[in-house]
Each structure stands twice: as structure tokens, then as C-alpha cells.
């Protein structure tokens, strides 16, 4: 049990810096950023389809509420998924009890499957938000804006997950996580 708690703690330590970025972003979106802020300018320049909005007689301010809601709900969903899967793996890795030749390889296969499911869910959520008609704000995003959101989300949450599982995986199963055996002995 101590080992599991230790894993969870280490996992949370791994998640924390990235989650902080995500939470900061989510809070900014919930509170709403000013029209002159850097974030609003960035959104205006790179994320939204300014031409379509201008054609419709709208400005960024007219649709910012929809866009901010879209962004924070997307990030809450991705953050929740990442945290749940990361902590889940960290706990679950303690229950991998394999005693067979080539067990490192079998641990690795387990990790790859979990990571694959995580990546698939990550993709699924991002696509649901950006490509389906579930959110009104989706239609205000430019093509490059959508690509940017997809790439940024995948990069941030994949790294977050990786660092989380890197630190949180049970010591005996560390060989399952890519490059985890390179960690110093103290971890």
C-alpha cells in the first residue's frame, strides 16, 4: 500500500507542472481574458477563422464566450482523462504480477496497450470537440487553428501522461515504460 501511495505521489509530481499549465489555461478561459490580452490576440491571429467571422459581421468579442467555453471544456476533458489514466496505470502497475521468462517484454506490452488506449481516447476527445458539431464554437475555428489545437493538446497531454507514468510506475515494472530504467535510483 505504501508503495502504491508512493507511486501516486510520484505520478502526481510528474503530472503537476503540465497540469499547472493546463489548469492555468482552463481558469483563464473560465474567467475570460480581455480583448487586448496576448491570449485573445493569439486566438484572433491563429485559432479563429477571422475572415468568416468578419463576413458574418462578427468580431472575436462576439464569439469569445463560445470559444472560451469550448477551450476549457476540451482541456478539462483531456486533463481528466490524462490524470485518470496516469494514476490508473500507476496503481495498476503494482498489480502486474508476472513471473515468466521475458517478463520485461510482457510489462512493456501492457504499457503499450494502456498508452495506445490513452492516445486513442485523447484523439477521440480532440476530434469530437474540433470536428463534430457538438460545439457551436467549432465552426469559428480556422483549419490551421484546429490543427494547432489538435497538435498542442496531443503534445501537452501525452507528455504529461508519459512523465506521470514514468515516475509513477511500480518499481518492479519500470522496465515496461520506455526509458524508465534510465531514471536515477532515488526515484
Amino acid at each position: 500500500m505504501v508503495n502504491i501511495l508512493r507511486s501516486l505521489l510520484l505520478s502526481l509530481v510528474g503530472l503537476a507542472p503540465f497540469a499547472a499549465v493546463s489548469i492555468f489555461f482552463i481558469i483563464s478561459m473560465i474567467v475570460g481574458v480581455g480583448p487586448d490580452s496576448n491570449l485573445a490576440t493569439y486566438f484572433g491571429d491563429y485559432i479563429i477563422n477571422s475572415e468568416s467571422l468578419a463576413d458574418a459581421g462578427d468580431s472575436f468579442e462576439d464569439v469569445s464566450n463560445y470559444l472560451f467555453r469550448f477551450m476549457y471544456e476540451l482541456n478539462i476533458a483531456l486533463l481528466s482523462l490524462t490524470v485518470v489514466i496516469t494514476l490508473g496505470w500507476s496503481v495498476g502497475s503494482h498489480y502486474l504480477n508476472i513471473d515468466a521468462p521475458g517478463k520485461a517484454k510482457i510489462y512493456f506490452i501492457h504499457w503499450v496497450i494502456v498508452s495506445g488506449v490513452f492516445i486513442a481516447l485523447l484523439f477521440g476527445i480532440v476530434f469530437y470537440f474540433t470536428q463534430s458539431t457538438a460545439y457551436l464554437a467549432q465552426q469559428f475555428l480556422s483549419g490551421s487553428g484546429k490543427t494547432l489545437i489538435i497538435i498542442a493538446s496531443l503534445v501537452l497531454y501525452t507528455i504529461m501522461y508519459y512523465v506521470g507514468v514514468l515516475l509513477g510506475t511500480a518499481r518492479f515494472a519500470r522496465s515496461s515504460v520506455l526509458l524508465a530504467n534510465k531514471l536515477p535510483g532515488g526515484f
Binding site: 468568416s52 468578419a54 463576413d55 458574418a56 457551436l136 465552426q139
Partner: protein
């Protein structure tokens, strides 16, 4: 006390309903297009009107009066009846012949028009009225007294030199003035038997020759007056003379106002004008607002294709006229993020910057406005309420009449070659050119005319 409470309740109820009514329009503030004044034909009593008939007395006309064995002589029949028709159109009929000048025909000589002797002249060529055909003279008379109805009977055989420079302007100036006053020119071409000589056929060398082998040749009845009277004369002729399938006749109306009406004036736009995808859509409602603006209210999905709105040509274009070759649309699209009418404020309506949203096409039967064909519904934001107002204008008159008469026309340059082919049915020299000239004068006087205005008020669903 009771009555004051009752009064208060009544006032409250009335004001509430008024607000609901105003809000229920669910439309932004917009300016209705100003209707173009369509020249209305005067309903002047025909008993007040005078009819002036002008017979072309040139020698080439003589052949119409002589029968050609086995071929129906429509000239004699039609002219005989035309006098009767003219007398029905107006209270007084005045007869004239024209050639070098206009000469009144005495009443006892009118019947001579269908006799060969009417076109003969025993005097010197300089004194005779049958050596040339100054068709501009009756037009000049029409300009001087536009209240009358003018009927010109002629073979319209005009050489190119009569259709340029000063001679041409002698024809176009009075025509312009006549059209400006809302009058129209009807041309009825009738193929009749012919047994005589056609003079002044231009040769390639610059001279002229005559031709005697023609057995058929068209003559023309040109009517200058109100469209109503022109149609009446045409209808009478059709009923009485052109009922045999072998009878060949053509008709064209030259007018500066080929548009019958603005469809909004009499609220002629209905649910039937728009495609069934709208009338069958959820929450469909059709109503007139601002007195005569038809509004289609409905919900539609953003995957839907363009919305068609159709108008029958016969509802807007004067039958037999040169028609309209080009239509234009002026449109404005507004959207509101709030789609509940009672919650929409004036500031919620945002005007779309796109202008090229829809397109308009015309075929022989109808005019089709394809709304949201250029900016498809899938390219505009769903989840909003839209208000789209379209004004349809007739922009440029057509040239249908030129095509109608093309078959009977021969150009100066082709006349000699045509004659050398010994044709039995002889064509009219420069007919298309004459029609083209008449059309261009009419087109100059044409003003872009508002045909219809309509509005769509819809919720765009995902």
C-alpha cells in the same frame, strides 16, 4: 374603480399584444427597395382616341394586291379587315398613304388600297408618291400626337443607306419620344402571296435591280400605341385571319417597359413560389410584413442545398415583347446569435458582408432565384437566426424580337445572291437590322425595374 381597473387591463392587453406583434416580426431594421415606376397603360376610353392608318404607297407594294394562283392572299383580306379593326379601337379613323410624303386618303378612296391602281402613278417620277418609302414620316406624326394609335402597313424594304446617319435619326428620334411616353411598337409580319415586282434590291456593285419571280413575300403592320391596343389588334387579326396552320405570321412588341408589374404590389408572391423544402420545413410560416413584403419563416439544416424561388415569365414579362436578357439581385443577410424572436435586440442583428450570396437564371418558362447557391448554407454559421432580403431587378432588355424575324430577313450584302437563287418566297431587306435599331432605341429608354422583393427568416440548424 372597477371600470378603471378594467380600462387598465384592456390597455395592458393591447400594449402587450402590440409588443408581441412587433417582436414577432423577428427582423432587423431594413429599408424596403423603392419600387420602380412601371409605366402603366392609360385606360383612356377608346371612344376618345383617334386611329391613324398609313399605307406604304411604294410601287413594290403593288404585288400584294394581285392574286397569285394557288396561294392565299392575306394582304387583301387583312387590310380589308384592318379598317374595321381600327374603327373599333378608336372613335375616329384617318387614312393616309406615305411614300415621298404623307397624303391623306379620301374616304371614298380607302377601298382602293387593295387595288393595284392605288400604287400606280401616271405623272412624272418626281411628282409620284410611289418612288420611295419614307417610313419615318408616320413615326414623326406619332411623336407629334402620342395620344393616337398609329397603324403603318408597309413591306419594310429599307436599304442600308436609309438606316444610317441623318435618315436613321429621323426614325429613331420620334421613336424614342414615343417610347418615352409609355407607348409601344407592335410589329406584325404576315407572309402573303405576291405577284409583282420588287424594286431596289441592292447589288454588290452598288446599283439596284428588281425581281419579278417572287410568289410570296411578307408585309408588316406596325402599330404604335398602348400595349393594350396593340394586343387587341393582334388578337383580332389572329382570330380572324391567322387560324389556318399554313398561315405564317410573326409578332414582336418593341417596348421600353417589357415588365408587366412588380409582384409585391398586388401580393402575388405566395408559398407556391418557393421550393417545397421550405414549405415542408419545421415551423414554416408565410406572411406579408411591411404591407407587401412576403416573408418565409422556417427552420433549415445547414447541410441543405440552395433554396429555389421561381417566378413565371408570364407574370412579369409582357408577352411578345423583347423580354429581359439580364436580371440582377440586390440582397442583404443578417444573423443573430440569439434565435428566440422575443429575446432578440436590435444590436443582435449583424449584417453579413457577403453580397454574392445567390444567383438568378432564366429559361423560356420561368425565372429561378437560387438562394444560398454562391454562399452555401454550410458556409454560414449554424445555431443562429437569419434574415435574408432579396430584391430582384430586370436589368437589361432582351432581343427576342430580333430572333423572331431573323428567318425573313436578308442583308444588303446577301441580297443579290439571294435574288440570283430565284426564290419563290422573298425576304425583307435588312429586317433584322431594323428590328435591332428599334430594340436599341427601346433599350436606351429602359430603366432597371424592381420585379419582386422577398425575405427569408430562418433558424439554421446543425
Amino acid at each position: 374603480m372597477k371600470s378603471s381597473i378594467l380600462n387598465f387591463l384592456i390597455i395592458l392587453m393591447i400594449s402587450t399584444f402590440s409588443i408581441v406583434e412587433a417582436k414577432d416580426n423577428c427582423a432587423p431594421e431594413f429599408n424596403l427597395a423603392k419600387p420602380t415606376s412601371i409605366i402603366k397603360q392609360e385606360n383612356k376610353d377608346s371612344t376618345d382616341k383617334s386611329v391613324f392608318i398609313y399605307f406604304d404607297q411604294s410601287l413594290s407594294m403593288q404585288g400584294y394586291t394581285k392574286n397569285q394562283p394557288g396561294i392565299k392572299n392575306l394582304y387583301v383580306n387583312v387590310i380589308d379587315d384592318l379598317q374595321q379593326i381600327a374603327e373599333n379601337v378608336g372613335s375616329k379613323t384617318y387614312y393616309h398613304s406615305f411614300g415621298k410624303s404623307i397624303v391623306p386618303i379620301k374616304e371614298n378612296k380607302i377601298s382602293q388600297v387593295i387595288k393595284p391602281s392605288f400604287y400606280e402613278c401616271t405623272g412624272s417620277a418626281a411628282d409620284c408618291n410611289n418612288q420611295e418609302s419614307k417610313i419615318h414620316l408616320p413615326f414623326k406624326m406619332a411623336k407629334a400626337n402620342p395620344d393616337g394609335t398609329y397603324i403603318i402597313v408597309t413591306d419594310l424594304f429599307l436599304s442600308s443607306k436609309q438606316l444610317v446617319g441623318g435618315t436613321l435619326s429621323q426614325l429613331t428620334k420620334p421613336l424614342k419620344s414615343v417610347l418615352k411616353k409609355g407607348k409601344s411598337v407592335g410589329i406584325i409580319g404576315v407572309m402573303s402571296s405576291f405577284n409583282g415586282t420588287i424594286y431596289d434590291i441592292p447589288t454588290n456593285e452598288g446599283g439596284t435591280v428588281s425581281y419579278t419571280e417572287a410568289q410570296k413575300r411578307p408585309f408588316y403592320i406596325i402599330v404604335i400605341g398602348d400595349q393594350k391596343e396593340i394586343n387587341r389588334i393582334k388578337k383580332n387579326l389572329e382570330e380572324q385571319h391567322f387560324n389556318d396552320p399554313e398561315d405564317k405570321y410573326k409578332y414582336s412588341l418593341i417596348t421600353s417597359s417589357p415588365i408587366i408589374q412588380n409582384l409585391n404590389d398586388k401580393k402575388l408572391i405566395t408559398e407556391n413560389n418557393i421550393s417545397s423544402k421550405v414549405t415542408k420545413a419545421d415551423n414554416f410560416k408565410f406572411d406579408y410584413i411591411e404591407e407587401n413584403l412576403p416573408v418565409y419563416k422556417f427552420d433549415i439544416r445547414n447541410k441543405s442545398k440552395s433554396i429555389k424561388f421561381k417566378i413565371k415569365n408570364s407574370d412579369i414579362i409582357v408577352k411578345g415583347s423583347n423580354g429581359v436578357s439580364n436580371f440582377k439581385i440586390e440582397n442583404t443577410l443578417w444573423s443573430s446569435k440569439e434565435n428566440r424572436c422575443n429575446k432578440i435586440n436590435d444590436e443582435d442583428w449583424k449584417k453579413d458582408k457577403r453580397i454574392n450570396i445567390s444567383k438568378i437564371d432564366q429559361n423560356e418558362q420561368e425565372l429561378t432565384l437560387s438562394m444560398f447557391s454562391e454562399v452555401p448554407l454550410k458556409k454560414i454559421f449554424w445555431g443562429r437566426k437569419y434574415f435574408y432580403i432579396v430584391d430582384i431587378y430586370a436589368e437589361k432588355p432582351g432581343n427576342a424580337s430580333e430572333e423572331t424575324f431573323e428567318e425573313w430577313s436578308v442583308r444588303d450584302a446577301e441580297a443579290e445572291e439571294f435574288k440570283d437563287g430565284n426564290p419563290v418566297e422573298f425576304k425583307t431587306l435588312n429586317l433584322t437590322k431594323i428590328i435591332k435599331i428599334l430594340n436599341s432605341v427601346a433599350n436606351d429608354e429602359f430603366q432597371p425595374t424592381l420585379i419582386a422583393s422577398l425575405a427569408l427568416n430562418f433558424n439554421l440548424l446543425k
